[in-house]
């Protein structure tokens, strides 16, 4: 604003006051508009940085590309709707909580099989061979990503979810407990059990491919 116009406004004439008032009103409206936009921009930045985790988790949980797309999209929309309630600490953990909750509500209920249900119970079964017999580095080094992914797909839902969140997404036990709404103790046992099942899957696969000698 140049000196003349500011002096004119400072004189307190009714025209000056009117101009000031309309300017303030305009600024308020712009701020309101920008607040909405900046909120969306902030969300987009955070979501973009976590999108591979969101989509990856969705795909590894659903094991179906289209369902994963739907799940990831719905999770993002819900996250945006609830963005005002995000505490600002760990966006990835927060949004993965939405992904897992949606998955549990939408998919698992309809697809849960009797085997998965029984595995969820404590003390179901011990799936692995005696520890000392298995040369782990040998098995795992031979594997390619696709084979590991396939083995992971064979791990039942509840255990797979815990393993994905802990090992692939790096969430803490507390964050996982919050995400899947179970006590931390249950998270610990699900991770341990999930890893044991996954190891058994990898071991079986290694044997079938001749990486390991066949069991007698």
């Amino acid at each position: 604003m140049d000196q003349t116009s500011s002096t004119w406004i400072k004189t307190g004439t009714s025209v000056g006051e009117a101009v000031l008032k309309s300017t303030e009103r305009y600024t308020r409206q712009r701020m309101l508009f920008r607040r909405g936009n900046s909120n969306r921009e902030r969300f987009e930045k955070l979501a973009e940085s976590s999108f591979s985790s969101i989509f990856g988790t969705a795909l590894r949980l659903t094991r179906n590309h289209e369902e994963a797309q739907d799940l990831a999209q719905e999770a993002l929309v819900r996250a945006f709707d609830a963005f005002d309630r995000f505490d600002g600490r760990n966006f990835k953990a927060w949004v993965l909580r939405i992904v897992t909750n949606l998955y549990i509500n939408r998919y698992r209920r309809s697809k849960r099989t009797g085997i998965e249900a029984s595995l969820d119970d404590e003390g179901a079964y011990e799936p692995i061979a005696p520890i000392e017999e298995i040369p782990d580095r040998q098995i795992f080094d031979e594997m390619v990503g696709e084979e590991v992914e396939r083995a992971l797909q064979n791990v039942p839902d509840v255990f797979r979810m815990a393993v994905i969140l802990a090992d692939l997404e790096g969430l803490s036990y507390d964050e996982i407990a919050e995400a899947i709404e179970v006590p931390v103790g249950t998270v610990r046992s699900r991770i341990a059990r999930g890893r044991a099942i996954l190891r058994k899957e990898l071991e079986d696969y290694a044997r079938s491919q001749g990486y390991l000698p066949q069991e007698n």
Binding site: R40, E44, F55, Q69, V77, D136, D167, A192
Partner: protein
């Protein structure tokens, strides 16, 4: 799976307390089975992290962002409307009031029968010496200007009276023609006359005021009434004559 196994998993995940950590580490260094277990858990974790690549899907991302932008637009509009709802209501009310005011001042209200009661007697007569020569001038002296459609070729004028009806300027000219006396009344800023609303007399509104048959019509912002003791059809003919038709 016992607690000791879970402690080894927790150690690999960095989820163990300081005091437990040293205890578990000691167990791993002294117990080959615990060491083997620690080894495979670490190996498996590293394998998952290194061999499971990051997954992404551009189409899914674009779709989600489109939906979010649409939601954001809706939210912004809703916020705006919520914030300014009272202003909108006030503007709407002002618009209604203004419209009704404009309608009232534009075409004028209806004159009620009660306000028209003194139409033939209540107006103040103007002395014949002060009366102007032509009908438009007579009316001009009563209502400020004359309706454009009034002819000045009327017969013998009996009485001129001016005054107000229902707060509006009005003038009455009583004159004679071959069939008797007629009263020509002009009221400013009126749209209709209660009781003279039936448009049936050769294109004129027809009715009665104080028992006197009348026809009426609009001339710009004026309501013009022609009354007399004769059939409406004859009044319509006289009205045509007054209007120079």
């Amino acid at each position: 799976m016992n607690d000791k196994d879970l402690e080894i998993h927790a150690l690999v995940d960095g989820e163990i307390s300081d005091e437990k950590r040293s205890e578990v580490q000691e167990r791993i260094s002294s117990d080959p089975q615990a060491a083997a277990q620690y080894e495979w858990i670490s190996c498996l974790k590293k394998t998952l992290q290194s061999k499971c690549t990051k997954l992404t899907d551009d189409e899914c991302w674009q779709r989600a962002m489109k939906q979010i932008q649409a939601i954001n637009r809706t939210n912004s509009t809703e916020r705006f409307v919520r914030r300014y709802a009272w202003s909108f209501c006030a503007l709407f009310l002002i618009a209604i009031v203004s419209a009704s005011f404009i309608q009232q001042t534009g075409s004028g209200p209806q004159l009620s029968t009660s306000s028209m009661a003194g139409i033939f007697t209540g107006l103040e007569p103007v002395s014949s010496s002060a009366a102007p020569d032509s009908i438009p001038e007579l009316l001009r002296s009563g209502v400020g200007s004359a309706p454009s459609g009034i002819s000045d070729s009327m017969d013998e004028v009996e009485e001129i009276a001016v005054g107000e009806i229902d707060g509006r300027r009005a003038a009455r000219v009583s004159f004679k023609d071959g069939s008797g006396t007629l009263h020509l009344i002009v009221v400013e800023d009126a749209s209709s006359v209660e009781g003279v609303e039936d448009k049936s007399a050769n294109g004129y509104y027809a009715g009665s005021i104080n028992g006197v048959r009348c026809v009426s019509w609009k001339e710009g912002r004026y309501m013009v009434i022609l009354g007399g003791d004769r059939p409406w059809r004859d009044l319509a003919t006289a009205a045509n004559h007054v209007r120079g038709r």
